[in-house]
Amino acid sequence: MNESLSTRRLVIRLSLVVVAMFGFGFALVPIYDVMCQAFGINGKTAGAYEAGEQGVDASRQVRVQFLATNAADMVWEFRPMADEVAVHPGDSTQMVFVAHNPTDRPMTAQAIPSVAPSKAAAYFHKTECFCFTQQVLQPGERIEMPVRFIVDRDLPADVRHLTLAYTLFDITASKPPVAQVGQ
């Protein structure tokens, strides 16, 4: 009898471990995001940058290159106005991307940014970006979408060249254009 009691307790404890590990699987999601943010890995950039002016480091120049890619099945035309700009760290710069919906139906899109080399991602601040919201384009509509950014003065000295890449996803199915207001 004593034996079966302790078996019961053991099974309950082991089941708790099972539940905890199931939860741990999901906990990996925020842990992963936090790690990527903290170490600036995977080229993930942070959300909108709030800090004030840094003071420009005119002695240094960094080339920032822009890439626009369509995810599979995305049909929009999507490109930056210029392939590359040279900026001084600390200076606020704007670049405009163009998007055009060539289809005959309204569509919603989401752009996902990524910075390479990934160790530079933590030093690339976006104060304004079309990637913070979703884009709804009516049939045939064309828009210009700005991104405003500051390259941090603390950017490691060996980084002289950055790439800001956007991938544009068609999310019409999950975010139907009609439901969107104020876009």
């Binding site: 078996t7 199931f22 699987g25």
Partner: protein, 530 residues
């Protein structure tokens, strides 16, 4: 010897319930031996099914170009072959061995939770019927590789992926219940005097395996649940468009996946550690170090998962950490290999079939460990990753590792299970055909892999043609030989010579103190362990 059999045999008869009659015996049974038998047969059926798919793969790869199947179907074959072998053949075989042998080895009358035991078994046929049925559904079955990376398995998956997810859930539940049962049995039902450090190594390795299962199967369940939510409920765990990340999938999967590969090898370590001393007629060298080595391997297996992801773009410090941590696993693994070698050293060895499989296990598993070390070198892995070199590596650890471990166990304990000896000549033939076949099949894969042949592709460059043909011939030989194994087992059950209670003179352990075949109920009163 026969006197022993008689007394026990009588005790067995006097006992009220023997097995029930008819089919319901198997459906309702809570007897650990019945359930162990069912697990073993199920696993063997899955082994043949997964093997058939491997034959399709090798037939297509016999020559360059597309001859037999379409690429879409080829992808389903590689995927299902991997899933069935891992979850349907290897894991259930070890659970079957655990069911049969753990109670006999620790002097327990049965498993601690017999009803749950029945349920965990019967979930498996349900899970695998569902999974295999996807092959006949519109759009086909899983075609995204056994590692089912998102977004291949989410955004681009066939419709049937939902059934695949549900099947993974079912077998996960089955494994978790099986593992809880093993832990409860080992911790609570040991005969008086059977202290932890007196337990046979098979029991030890299974205890540690069970903890690994309890820790990582829920993570796998979480992983497929996230897929399910991405596919059907509009979340974006793994979808970049919604702010998720496909690389996250790989982290979650391999957090489960790497311990999983040890789940498939540790019980084989335990079985071999019982068999080698029996046929070398010497006690196992370094018992205590074996226990600690197993525990360290289990611990380390949690901190090396990203060695499967060296090429996804993890930072340099990450590459270095996972590279060194992975190499560290070679240390406790090496301890084990040296212990087995020292056990054989100056032993009075004989080479019956279980011993042949065990010696081959030690040698060939070590080759797999070496190719693992090569893959663990992060800068080199950029060249090897996703080539046939990886395929060669994991087949060297899984076929002569897990599968040979299972064959060795089967031959070693068949006399106890059936009460008959198997045919030694045929057993040796089975061994040599398997040995030659598997080396022919998998050794050339090292070369084509190093030369850059990618895995999971139905066609290949002309320059790989010769090695692939050799591989295919070896694979056909290995595959056909397994039918011989089926024949040997049936012959053993039907018409083998009667086996003594302890048919191997060097064997140790409580399981040899009960008659052969082991009566339906054993150790109703716990034996005394000195």
């Amino acid at each position: 010897m026969s006197a022993v059999i008689d007394t026990h045999g009588h005790a067995g008869h006097d006992h009220h319930h023997g097995p029930a009659k008819g089919l319901m015996r198997w459906v309702l049974t809570t007897n650990h031996k019945d359930i162990g038998t069912m697990y073993l047969w199920f696993s063997f059926a899955m082994f043949l099914l997964g093997g058939t798919m491997a034959m399709v793969i090798r037939a297509e790869l016999f020559q360059p170009g597309l001859q037999i199947v379409q690429p879409e179907f080829f992808n389903q074959m590689t995927t299902m072959h991997g899933l069935i072998m891992v979850f349907g053949a290897v894991m259930p075989a070890f659970v079957g061995l655990a069911n049969w042998m753990i109670p006999l080895m620790i002097g327990a009358p049965d498993m601690a939770l017999p009803r749950m035991n029945n349920f965990s078994f019967w979930l498996l046929p349900a899970a695998f019927s569902m999974m295999v049925s996807t092959l006949f559904m519109e759009g086909g079955g899983p075609n995204f590789g056994w590692t089912f990376y998102a977004p291949l398995s989410t955004t681009y998956a066939p419709e049937s992926v939902t059934f695949f997810i549900f099947a993974v859930h079912l077998m996960g539940i089955s494994s978790i219940m099986g593992a809880i049962n093993v832990v409860a049995t080992i911790l609570n039902l040991r005969a008086p005097g059977m202290t932890l450090m007196k337990m046979p190594l098979f029991v030890w390795t299974w205890l540690i395996t069970a903890f690994l299962l309890i820790a990582v199967m829920p993570v796998l369940a979480g992983c497929v649940t996230m897929m399910l939510m991405d596919i059907h409920f509009g979340t974006s765990f793994f979808s970049a468009a919604g702010g998720g990340d496909p690389v996250l999938f790989q982290h979650v999967f391999w957090f489960f996946g790497h311990p999983e590969v040890y789940i498939m090898i540790l019980p084989a370590f335990g079985a071999v550690s019982a068999i080698i001393p029996a046929f070398a007629r010497k006690p196992l060298f370094g018992y205590t170090s074996m226990v600690y080595a197993t525990a360290s391997i289990a611990f380390l297996s949690f901190i090396v998962w990203a060695h499967h992801m060296f090429t996804v773009g993890i930072p340099l410090t990450g590459e270095l950490f996972f590279m060194y941590a992975t190499m560290l696993i070679a240390v406790p693994t090496g301890v084990k290999v040296f212990n087995w070698a020292s056990t054989m050293w100056q032993g009075s060895m004989t080479f019956e079939t279980p011993m042949l499989f065990s010696v081959a296990f030690v040698i060939l598993f070590t080759i797999g460990g070496f190719s693992g070390l090569m893959l663990a070198i992060a800068p080199a892995d950029f060249q090897y990753h996703d080539t046939y070199f990886v395929v060669a590596h994991f087949h060297y650890v899984l076929v002569p590792g897990a599968i040979f471990g299972i064959f060795a166990s089967a031959y070693y304990w068949l006399p106890k299970w059936t009460g008959h000896m198997y045919d030694e000549t045929l057993g040796k033939l089975h061994f040599w055909m398997s040995f030659v076949g598997m080396n022919m099949a998998f050794f050339p894969m090292h070369f084509v892999g190093l030369a850059g042949m990618p895995r999971r592709i139905p066609d290949y460059n002309m320059m790989f043609a010769n090695f692939n043909m050799v591989s295919s011939i070896g694979a056909f030989m290995f595959g056909a030989t397994q039918l011989l194994f089926l024949f040997i087992v049936i012959k053993c059950i039907r018409s083998g010579q009667p086996a003594a209670a302890k048919p191997w003179d060097g064997a140790e352990g409580l399981e040899w103190t009960v008659p052969s075949p082991a009566p339906y109920h054993t150790f109703q009163t716990p034996p005394e362990v000195k």
